[in-house]
């Protein structure tokens, strides 16, 4: 129905410096959010007519981001910066993507793979998580022969730790399987690099000309207090959150595993909440114990997302703020409880530096202790492979992701810096570009640092409130099905219409791609006619016009990046000093008028 391909007049342009809407600037991979929002808003209301168009939007998203179906369930970074945030609520972009994903996944499962020409070098990807797979996807499209080495028995890395009630298994599995198949990546499971048989040197000998190392952070952090490990972490009933979620995702935990048990989860991040809500669904009477305080606006505020906190609270999970764990109480080798002094401070100017008040201590009893205080990389492997510096820290150029010690090796993802899934994907894209430049012996840094300026919200009288998000009532949520209801077609169209297209035309061009407009020439000012009256400034809803004092006097100037070529200023200018170039409207009215005259003449 539409030609959504970014080609010709509909090509989304890249410039070294440009404006973007804040959502796209915030997205680590600068996804074309605005363009796809506009396309969704123009979908037909009839589901059968909309289906092919939804797939076209999906194809457009997929081309740049094969993880997009997963993003639609787990990522909403763009919403944090949405201009609508302060005016009625951010646009629910994640749910819009989920909407597309739900139609797209069945199609992806049977979609015919691309026939790519792989005429370039062999590249090894170490680590089959989002960073590695994204790099592999991008490099494959560029013509490199990619082999992914994954230590475990499945691709996906940390994505498998996301509970099913947030990310359905089919979505994750089909996404992973789909991208490997679409670009033809070679995958070697159960193959660990950096230990035993497989080393980086061996990869080199096998003919790999570059390697991207994104092994993630498989090692859970242990519980410490005052920089010393807390005693009792080897007691029965004590486990680590990461390991626990891993087991759950493998299906190794039966549904009522924690029934009748008191579960204490130590940690204040989203993963701790994932663990707690999972434990709750397995029947446990669950509490979270966090160092951080309840006030999210303070420096010591609990890091977990507001939605997670609300969800946990609704599900009957008790949250204990501002408490550390000094000691684990055991009895007969079994965990019985924890000693929790009050945490008076988590961070100071130097960073993480918790302080406690020993006089204010409480004891919490429990049967299970799940420690979820972070995870770290496999340092031995990094050391063995010579990727660390003299201080034992990872030695990587932060812009190019190239290892400073071994020039053909690149490092990214959680291994380099803990972050969100899409940040890992960004590292994958950066590494792919770096690898290509390295293999082609081109300059590594030119044009890498892209600076974006963020566009403000357009002006209008009324802003609309966000739609309500619908969750299943908490008492009906004690299973691992999704509890959040997604958008219907009508709801998706309406929410997409709420998006104000803050960003410039050159980074969108949705209307051109579906034939609504032919071109987007920004407005020209005829400076020999402009008197500087400023009426155009008032007419523009995008603040694209300013008055400037130049030699000839005061004139108006349009910022070509901000201009939407909508023509409001052209019609408002009393001197006719603005023009949209070869705008057909004037000519069309004249032709139409001539047609009218002919009719009048014929009738007379």
């Amino acid at each position: 129905m539409w030609n959504t391909v970014s080609k010709g007049a509909a090509a989304v342009e890249r410039a070294v410096k440009q404006y973007l809407p804040p959502c796209q600037e915030q997205c680590p991979i600068n996804e074309d959010i605005q363009r796809t929002n506009v396309l969704i808003s123009l979908l037909p209301e009839d589901p059968s007519a909309a289906a092919p168009a939804i797939l076209e939007i999906g194809d457009y998203l997929y081309d740049k981001n094969p993880f997009f179906p997963v993003c639609g369930y787990v990522c909403g970074l763009c919403e944090l910066e949405c201009n609508y945030h302060a005016k009625g609520g951010a646009i629910k972009r994640r749910l819009l993507k989920r909407f597309i994903s739900d139609t797209y996944i069945p199609y992806l499962e049977t979609r015919e793979e691309w026939t790519l020409v792989k005429h370039r070098e062999n590249v090894a990807i170490v680590g089959g998580g989002p960073a590695g797979l994204m790099a592999g996807y991008d490099l494959s499209k560029r013509g490199y022969r990619v082999t992914v080495f994954e230590a475990s028995d499945r691709l996906g890395g940390a994505l498998w730790l996301i509970p099913r009630y947030r990310l359905p298994e089919r979505v994750l599995a089909s996404t992973l399987e789909g991208m490997v198949r679409m670009v033809g990546m070679d995958v070697k499971l159960n193959t660990r690099i950096g230990q035993g048989k497989w080393t980086l040197d061996k990869l080199k000998n096998e003919g790999f000309k570059a390697v991207f190392i994104a092994q993630g952070t498989p090692t859970p952090r242990t519980l410490t207090f005052d920089r010393n490990p807390v005693d009792g972490q080897d007691l029965s009933g004590v486990m680590y959150g990461q390991t626990f979620l891993y087991e759950v995702s493998h299906g190794n935990i039966r549904p009522n595993y924690f029934t009748g048990k008191k579960v204490l989860v130590i940690g204040g991040g989203n993963v701790a909440f994932d663990v707690a809500r999972t434990a709750r669904r397995l029947g446990g009477e669950t509490a979270i114990v966090a160092l951080e305080c309840e006030d999210k606006s303070s420096r010591d505020g609990i890091p977990a997302d507001v939605e997670e906190i609300r969800g946990a609270w609704e599900e009957g999970i008790r949250i204990v703020y501002s408490r550390g764990v000094q000691k684990i109480i055991g009895e007969s080798e079994r965990m019985k409880g924890v000693v929790c002094p009050k945490c008076t401070r988590v961070y100071d100017e130097k960073g993480f530096n918790p302080a406690f008040d020993p006089a204010d201590t409480l004891v919490l009893d429990g049967d299970v202790l799940i420690v979820t205080v972070g995870q770290g990389p496999d340092w031995t492997a990094l050391q063995t492979e010579g990727l660390v510096d003299a201080h034992g820290r990872l030695s990587v150029d932060p812009v190019t992701l190239q290892s400073r010690n071994r020039k053909w090796a690149f490092v990214g993802g959680d291994l380099r810096k803990i972050g969100f899934m899409v940040e890992a994907m960004q590292d994958g894209l950066v590494a792919a570009e770096s690898i290509e430049r390295h293999l082609q012996e081109r300059d590594m840094t030119e044009g890498r640092k892209r600076v974006f300026e963020v566009q403000d919200i357009p002006m209008r009288r009324h802003y609309l409130t966000e739609p309500e998000v619908v969750w299943i009532p908490p008492e009906k949520r004690m299973h691992f099905q999704l509890f959040e209801r997604g958008f219907t077609l009508t709801e998706a169209i309406e929410e997409a219409r709420r998006c104000l297209s803050c960003g410039p035309c050159i980074s969108c061009k949705a209307c051109v791609s579906i034939g609504l407009r032919d071109s987007l020439n920004p407005v020209e000012v005829l400076t020999d006619r402009c008197c500087g009256c400023g009426i155009c400034v008032s007419a523009c809803f995008y603040s694209a016009i300013q008055l400037k004092d130049v030699d000839m006097g005061r004139i108006s100037v349009t910022d070509a990046f901000k201009c939407k070529a909508c023509g409001m200023c052209v019609s408002a200018c009393p001197s006719g000093a603005r023009t949209l170039g070869e705008d057909p409207l004037d000519a069309a009215v004249i032709t139409l008028a001539a047609g009218l005259q002919k009719q009048v003449g014929a009738g007379a």
Partner: protein, 132 residues
Amino acid sequence: MDDEPKLVCFSCKFGWGYLTKQEGLKDASDFLMPVECSGKLDAIHLLKVFKEGADGILILACEEEHCHFQEGNFRTVKMLYLLKEVLQAHGIEKDRVRIALSLDPEGRSIPGRIAQMKKSLMALGPLNRTLL
């Protein structure tokens, strides 16, 4: 067919008929012109159309709150208040210009709206061109 009133229809591409081919819309009326935003129409365009022989103008603009360019439709509504005063002073009834603020992606309602407006124009009779 000289009795048939000459109705010129301007329709906003972002709200009317974007799910059909624009050419198909033209079947609804000899004088239908799609524009990117009703706010792009200036008073001179509309006055010229009357001067050159139209009996009426129908503007199909987007729903309130849903102009793709924020408030072009509202700008047109404001402009029409003044335009109608000018028309009335020239002996052209205010009712000869109408604006519909709605959303019709398939454009199905367009032929009906045009027919309905033509009926109203017939009831008003031919445009009094004494002062034009």
